[in-house]
């Protein structure tokens, strides 16, 4: 039982991170209807931003303090939001009205470009690096279950960010505009919504969440490398499809389920080797039996 609870906590922590990344995929899909392959790499850049910001922040604030951790997180989110917008303006905006596959391939190209540039020895180098401890390390023992301070931070941060996101999307003017663009781009434009700035904002928001996910991931797994976003990004994408792509609560739910399933599967001896394949098996199952995802709406095709 304790082992079950322990695995559940580990799974939920991983799932919360997947949820943060999945939200970015699903938001971009909502407004532009394409898969931003480079999103996983923005997640990686977030972790690296945290890695380089941490020593700078420590000059002002003591190392391993909560205030310092929060500042690193916020700065990394801001940097990645800017990067996400830059990627959109340079690579995706010129292709706005082109066929979807052209954009998809461009996204793959952007993703590869970021990965290979970061692997170059003049940038980050290919070797993994140790991520510094941002906050005081503590382990709480509840019965037989161990809960680390990093995991608590993952839960707290994720919940806060989800609440903030919900507020932005549902209660603010820019959020309303986002939903309008996702619903019908042309109609939104006719109602005076500036499509370009809304799409830019969506990229920024999604990238900021990915950066937060990157830092939380790095805090929990301690090692970062330029290719860390590939597998994690793919799994988060699967989570977004699982929940129903374009649907925000669905992405969060899908991410959590994905994290829990993967962690439990990793604990079963015969299955642990197939850990990386499980995400895709789930994806294929979902797309075959319920292509719209768990919470997505089934859309009929107009001829």
């Amino acid at each position: 039982m304790t082992e079950f609870l322990q695995q559940l906590i580990n799974g939920l922590a991983l799932g919360a991170i997947y949820a943060l990344i999945a939200l970015g995929y699903t938001m971009v899909y909502g407004v532009l209807r394409f898969i931003n392959f480079a999103h996983g790499d923005v997640f990686m850049l977030g972790a690296f931003a945290g890695y380089f910001l941490s020593p700078l922040v420590n000059r002002v604030l003591p190392a391993q303090s909560y205030a310092g951790g929060i500042i690193v997180l916020v700065l990394a989110m801001a940097i990645c939001a800017a990067l996400g917008m830059l990627i959109e303006i340079l690579a995706y905006r010129p292709l706005r009205n082109r066929p979807k596959l052209t954009v998809l391939i461009t996204a793959i190209g952007v993703s590869l470009f970021i990965e290979y540039t970061c692997q170059h020895r003049a940038v980050f180098g290919a070797a993994p690096r140790n991520f510094p401890d941002l906050i005081p390390a503590n382990n709480w023992h509840l019965g037989g279950v161990v809960l680390s301070s990093n995991q608590v931070i993952v839960f707290v941060t994720t919940l806060l960010l989800l609440a903030a996101l919900r507020f932005i999307v549902q209660r603010t003017k820019v959020g309303t505009a986002m939903r309008a663009v996702a619903f019908n781009e042309q109609a939104a434009a006719l109602m005076g919504v500036n499509i370009n700035s809304i799409i830019s904002f969506t990229f920024g928001l999604g990238s900021a969440l990915a950066a937060a996910g990157g830092i939380l991931f790095a805090m929990n797994y301690a090692s970062i490398d330029p290719l860390m976003g590939v597998q994690t990004g793919l799994k988060a994408f699967v989570a977004a499809v699982f929940g129903g792509i374009g649907n925000l609560p669905g992405a969060a739910l899908g991410g959590v389920i994905m994290g829990v399933v993967e962690t439990f599967a990793g604990g079963i001896p015969g299955l642990s080797n197939y850990r990386d394949g499980i995400a895709f098996a789930i994806l294929i199952g979902v797309l075959i039996f319920r292509p719209a995802g768990l919470l997505g709406k089934v859309q009929t095709e107009k001829v």
Binding site: V103, G109, L112, N273, G277, I284
Partner: protein, 310 residues
């Protein structure tokens, strides 16, 4: 026209075998590259049937190649000692065909359940299948797990690789130009209209996947007997992307363009070995610039109407 194409095929195979006969005089490094070119032509032209002519989008071609390569290699490794030397070419052909057949079965397994999906969903599912195939080979002890298979006899010569390429080009070109094959183009142009005209889109899509996967499997077998070892990392997502880029660079559905692109993209990286650090950065940048500037492919001229939808 058809007999003319057959004559071309025979001529191509004859030339390939003839060159192969003198291969001992060539630089082994260049010969190796030439064989790689042949293999990549098979891969690109077979993917072109799926992505170009039929207008689907597969990102899992390396998975089919892996199935073919591993099956062929396993068969040769098991039967090698039982077969007299004179029968080795027969065993090689049998291994290639078995590899192709296994890949075709995999293509069927991928094709049937997923072809209800379109566009980027299909791309993601094929990507997923490719990854699952790789994970299975990576964990299966029978196939050498993470180390892969080693000691595969080096039976691939220039003649084998280029005969395979010629055969692949011949079969796929003839197929697409046949009365039956017009259906692939119809499905590409407009699925709904094709369906309304009595063409079964699902059947055409599955056929494209099975035939494309078959040739990818053959290419895998030739590759296995060329490199003499196989490891699961050689068949990852990147390999699939490489093949997709060849098809896009050549122009979707343009066989000649795709062949030129396959040659270019195999030879060019070899010349860039000196800039190894920047090679892949340039490569990824090339993809982005190509999509921004010439999404219809480098070798597509004139009527681009057909490709507007691709």
């Amino acid at each position: 026209m058809n007999s003319g194409a057959k004559r071309w095929l025979l001529a191509a195979i004859a030339v390939a075998v003839l060159i192969s006969a003198f291969s001992a005089h060539f630089n082994r490094y260049y010969l190796g590259i030439a064989i790689d070119v042949g293999i990549n032509i098979i891969l690109a032209v077979s993917l072109n049937l799926i992505n170009g002519h039929t207008g689907q989008f597969s990102l899992g071609h390396a998975g089919f190649m892996a199935v073919g390569g591993y099956s062929a290699a396993k068969l040769t490794l098991t039967l090698q000692s039982l077969v007299p030397p004179w029968a080795q070419p027969l065993l090689f052909i049998a291994a290639l065909l078995v590899g192709g057949a296994m890949a075709a079965v995999a293509g069927l397994a991928v094709g049937v359940p997923t072809l209800r999906l379109r566009g980027d969903y299909l791309a993601i599912v094929t990507l997923g299948f490719g990854e699952i195939i790789r994970v299975i080979f990576q964990t299966s002890e029978t196939f050498g797990a993470a180390t892969g298979l080693t000691g595969i006899p080096r039976w691939t010569s220039f003649g084998w690789a280029w005969s395979g390429a010629a055969l692949c080009v011949f079969v796929i070109t003839s197929l697409v130009n046949s009365t039956y094959g017009r259906g692939f183009l119809a499905v590409h142009d407009d699925e709904v209209a094709a369906g309304a005209s009595g063409i079964n889109p699902v059947r055409y899509k599955v056929t494209a996947f099975v035939i494309g996967a078959f040739f990818a499997g053959i290419a895998g077998g030739i590759y296995a007997h060329h490199k003499s070892f196989l490891s699961p990392t050689g068949f990852d997502f990147m390999k699939s992307i490489d093949i997709v880029v060849m098809v896009i660079l050549g122009g979707m559905g343009r066989t000649v363009g795709v062949i030129i692109a396959a040659v270019l993209l195999t030879v060019l990286p070899e010349f860039l070995r000196g800039f190894a650090d920047y090679r892949m950065i340039l490569y990824s940048l090339l993809i982005v610039i190509l999509m921004l500037a010439r999404p219809q492919g480098l070798f597509t001229f004139g009527n681009t109407n057909r490709n507007a939808k691709a």
